[in-house]
Amino acid sequence: MKKTDARLPITKTPKVYVGGAFIRSESARTYKVMAADGTFFANMPQCTRKDLRNAVEAAAKAGPGWARRTPYNRAQILYRLAEMIDARSGEIVDSLVTFGARRADAGKGMSVAVDRLIYYAGWADKYEQLIGSVNPVASAHFNFTVTEPMGVVGVIAPDTPPLLGLLSMVAPVIACGNTVVALASEKVPYPSILLGEMLATSDLPGGVVNILTGFRRELIPTFASHTHLRAVYAAAAGDDRKALRLGAADSVKRVRFVDADTAWFEDSAQGLEAIRDFVELKTTWHPIGS
């Protein structure tokens, strides 16, 4: 027998991150993902409608606790997540390169992703002062408007850039106290599997962010129709947009679409608007008197 020094690497079984645990699809279905050079990379969970419903349940369970955290605490947890991702961003960059990204672009993308997460971490205890208000009503009332998170929000990530896109969409939604069920890029899902592993080692409570992999055409109808999803933030076009709008009409769901020409690497891809679209406004009247 020929002796060799070459050690056969261990291939990782990709599992999706739902409710703070790493699971396979309940259907036990997978789909094959190939590296850019055409070689086999891994079998991805092909999540089903049922998986999506389970994820919504996990997100709903985590919701009240996350919403009740102080804004300062949420800010620190998001910052901690940025620390965890930055320290391991090489791993994500490698995986993006495996799937065809240029190394320089992937590296830049990860830097932007981490900075963007810190940007939204900073918003957690600041947006209220810009979105809420005290209202000068013409009577002896103290009248003020405060924000409240909507609840569970569905996020449908773009294919390019797969990871920066996903993080840019998830960060504002959780910064203001919502929980998320996200669908990773169908074409390049593996970086978001890695993201799930980083989420798991951050201080983010399980269930606040749940990431599924699978086929958009199978899952978009459920994102559209699931009544417990209070909003959907989607990178979608054409018929997908219409399907989401139609489903949203049934439960008057909030929908925000990512512009097709979003410059993900630029500062214009981030802003307070992304938070404002995922909070409700509540106005309270209270008399002033002796």
């Binding site: 810190i118 918003w123 205890d125 600041k126």
Partner: protein
């Protein structure tokens, strides 16, 4: 079993703490102090050109803690030169990069929180439970909060751009040394300014320990410069021509002096000065909660708090009850070793402050108010003052008008809402006020009528980096915290 507490025999009504003495529970973490602290200029610790030093002592036992460099005019000038040189690069950094430095400072301070808490307590005399649970975490929170603003400055003044001012001169007091430093540094840095800061002469240690953190964080040299010394150094910092703005926290008297000193220049200023807050208790208030709030309002940090609730205004129908409960409550306050985790009142910050408190208390007795102090054993060495209540106080008494800055509460009464408002506002100060009532509409009426920068309702002495703090009238101008505070370190572009 421990010995019965001394002085407890023969008093009516046994209360908690009468039966047994507490065992000592000292905090033993190493404060990692150096024997000598130099000035922190241009990113380095440097010997003062003045060649002089002074001692910082532990007010709890009067032992020398460290030797501190005394900055003269030449040293202050050197600090301003370093800051002026650093300004170009620092202000040109993208906000997100500046923010990262400030996040680092917040995190490194959190890492060393216990060490800083012990140092703060030894240097200033405050109870370890306060430095541990309030001063240090709140200082870190201020850095963390303002770090997050650095890349969002476009939102600070909607419709207008903002730009940094340049070099800011800052002088801070001895009551919350590290926290006041954080209040001053964090917004100035987030906005892109550079800083020359002078801590109070009795409490320089934690500022200089923070300089170690600034080094560890890799903050560019000259962005923050710390000069230590007393009033003369402070006047040099406030008066330096290279300062684009000065920010001062301290007594109204010194604040006025600085305003006179700078008259004729175009220097921007913010002033956070003294106070004589009214803490107003109505008959429908939750009395036990109010008593806790009154105690916190005046005995927090030995009453060395500019926004302390030092005038209790209590509604006549409940006055007797409130005062009786209050006397009972302060009997169990523990005065003594600040490093003991059970201590409620630590040491008075300095001999000078102790004699000021003693003088004002004597004036209260002389002018006819009735003094109450619970029996308590004070340590023989160090500066201590027992918790003190005055009843039968009138508005003309010095103890009702002047800021005592010690654990001394003056109690007045009122009959109507209007009378409460009138009495509360009858002061040249206007920093804070407290209202205790079950009625929401009354809280809002009071908050509307009270001439004070902060009104606490059914709570007291709450602080948050997101909540603007500052005074009306002779309590100063400008705000610290929130968007408003940030704007005080910017010019509109």
């Amino acid at each position: 079993m421990a010995a019965p507490r001394k002085g407890s025999q023969g008093r009516a009504g046994l209360i908690f703490g009468d039966l047994w003495e507490f065992d000592p529970a000292p905090e033993t973490a190493d404060p990692k102090l150096k024997a000598r602290y130099d000035l922190f200029i241009n990113g380095e610790f440097v010997r003062p050109r003045s060649g002089k030093t002074f001692d910082s002592i532990n007010p709890a036992n009067e032992q020398k803690l460290a030797e501190i460099a005394l900055a003269g005019a030449a040293d202050v000038d050197r600090a301003y030169q370093a800051a002026t040189k650093a300004f170009k690069g620092w202000s040109a950094l993208p906000g997100r990069e500046r923010g990262k430095y400030i996040f680092r400072i917040a995190r490194l301070l959190q890492d060393r929180a216990r060490e800083f808490a012990v140092a703060e307590t030894m240097d200033g005399g405050k109870p370890i439970k306060e430095s541990r649970d309030f001063d240090v975490p709140m200082a870190a929170a201020h850095f963390f909060y303002h770090a997050g603003w650095a890349d969002k400055l476009a939102y600070v003044a909607p419709g207008r751009g903002v730009a940094p001012l340049g070099v800011v001169g800052q002088v801070i007091p001895w009551n919350f040394p590290l926290l006041m430093l954080a209040w001053k540094l964090a917004p100035a840095l987030a906005m892109g300014n550079c800083v020359v800061l002078k801590p109070a002469e009795t409490t320089s240690v934690t500022a200089l320990k923070l300089a170690e953190i600034l080094q560890d964080a890799g903050l560019p040299p000259g962005v923050v410069n710390l000069v230590t010394g007393a009033g003369e150094t402070g006047a040099a910092v406030m008066g330096h021509p290279a300062a684009a703005k000065v920010a001062f926290t301290g007594s109204t008297e010194v604040g006025k002096r600085i305003m006179r000193q700078l008259a004729g220049t175009d220097r921007r200023m913010t002033m956070e000065l003294g106070g004589k807050a009214a803490n107003i208790v109505f008959d429908d208030a939750p009395i036990d909660q109010a008593v806790e709030g009154i105690v916190n309002g005046i005995f927090f940090n030995q009453g060395h708090v500019c926004c302390a609730g030092s005038r209790l205004l209590v509604h006549e129908p409940v006055a007797e009850r409130v005062i009786a409960k209050l006397k009972n409550r302060i009997r169990v306050l523990r005065v003594g070793d600040p490093l003991d985790k059970n201590t409620d009142l630590g040491a008075i910050n300095s001999r000078e402050q102790l004699s000021r408190i003693t003088r004002l208390v004597a004036s209260g007795v002389r002018e006819g108010a009735v003094k109450y102090q619970p029996p308590c054993m004070l340590p023989k060495k160090g500066f201590y003052f027992p918790p003190t209540l005055f009843t039968h106080v009138t508005q003309s008494h010095r103890i009702a008008r002047e800021e005592i800055f010690g654990p001394v509460l003056s109690i007045l009464t009122f009959r109507t809402v209007d009378e409460a408002i009138e009495k509360a506002n009858n002061t040249p100060y206007g920093l804070s006020a407290g209202v205790w009532t079950d009625k929401g509409s009354r809280i809002l009426r009071m908050s509307t009528e009270l001439k004070a920068g902060v009104v606490w309702a059914n709570t007291f002495n709450r602080f948050d980096p997101s909540s603007p703090f500052g005074g009306y009238k002779e309590s100063g101008f400008g705000r610290e915290g929130g968007r408003q505070g940030l704007l005080d370190y910017a010019r509109l572009a």
